[in-house]
């Protein structure tokens, strides 16, 4: 099963359950009090997923290592390399 098929399967499953509740085919009885909330279930899922995703991404951007030491070390090694290569007879342009 491709990833697309997996998602479609999950989506269909979710929508079937939701429609069943909405059409009063489940043990949860639809009343004037709760129908608004039942309508809101898919929206809530999308919203929660969006907010959690955003928080995860913000956290990861904020904690993305800058590797300043690695850059310094590389600059140092480049200078050593240039000197050593010239000693070995390599001509830099």
């Amino acid at each position: 099963m491709t990833k697309l098929a997996q998602w479609l399967f999950g989506l269909t499953l979710f929508l079937s359950i939701w429609m069943a509740i909405l059409k009063d085919l489940s043990p949860i009885k639809v009343t004037n009090d709760n129908i608004f909330w039942i309508y809101l279930i898919p929206v809530a899922f999308v919203a929660i997923f969006g907010v959690v995703s955003l928080l995860i991404i913000i956290y990861r951007v904020a904690t993305f290592n800058n590797c300043d030491d690695a850059a310094k070390e590389l600059t140092k090694e480049i200078n050593q390399a240039k000197k050593d290569l010239e000693v070995k007879g390599f001509k830099f342009k």
Binding site: L4, R60, C67, L74
Partner: protein
């Protein structure tokens, strides 16, 4: 003595300034390992091939193999070309622009031996890994693209678009043959297909030092191509 041999494939295009430096770094950090470097230069106008031959004179043709093609072709075909010359049991692929530091190759080798991995990939997104030289915008795009990919493809690997990896030779051969994408998506497809074929993949955190300051390679077109590739993999794997 039955030490495995490692073939490091360096595809180059206009890397005449960086090539001597990356070779020097590889020689330094691969001390005591059985290895060779295969430079695949696509007839760079800046004379990268001549530089490669100079380096071959210094370090010997056991260590440095120089080859190439008439004109610039895709990365996948550069790997295929390089593999033909590889005498090693393992192939390391890396960029020649100094963003990938050869000191990590020994860590890849150690990690591969521990669990007999088919592939070890460097990762910028886990552990001590990271990137130098990216501003907040670039980091945000990168992290977002990575997150969306993780959610949609669940590849079991944290860095899909990196190109610093160690492969068993036959594994790389098989993967390159089954991957058709270009650019960033090619690296991504390699990992997704590896997962599909059931190859085991280990990860080693790496620091990626981006020295191409200023000019960002990540434009609108790259993002569009990336999304297109992502959807292609989403629908087909």
């Amino acid at each position: 003595m039955n030490e495995p041999k490692y073939s490091i494939i360096l595809p180059t295009y206009n890397e005449s300034e960086n090539l001597p430096l990356i070779i020097w770094l590889i020689i330094k950090h691969m001390e005591n390992e059985n290895f060779e470097v295969i430079i695949v230069d696509d007839n760079s106008p800046d004379g990268t091939t001549q530089v490669a031959k100079e380096l071959q004179k210094i370090y010997g043709d056991e260590k440095i193999v120089v080859t190439g093609r008439e004109k610039k072709l895709g990365l996948g075909s550069a790997y295929i070309h390089g593999i033909k010359f590889a005498k090693g049991d393992f192939v390391v692929i890396m960029d020649a622009d100094l963003s990938h530091h050869p000191k990590f190759i020994k860590q890849f080798i150690r990690h591969q031996k521990e669990n007999d991995y088919d592939i070890v990939t460097g990762t910028r997104y886990a552990g001590d890994g990271g990137v130098h030289g990216w501003n907040i915008k670039r980091k945000a795009i990168s992290r977002t693209a990575n997150y969306v990919t993780q959610v949609l493809l669940r590849p079991g690997v944290s860095d899909l678009t990196g190109s610093f990896r160690l492969y068993k030779k036959r594994v790389l051969e098989k993967l390159v043959q089954s991957c058709i994408s270009k650019g960033y998506v090619f690296q991504m497809e390699m990992m997704v297909r590896a997962n599909q074929f059931g190859f085991s993949v280990g990860e080693v955190p790496i620091s990626f030092v981006d020295r191409q300051f200023g000019e960002s390679k990540l434009g609108g077109n790259e993002i569009f191509q990336f999304l297109k590739g992502l959807l292609y993999l989403f629908a087909t794997t």
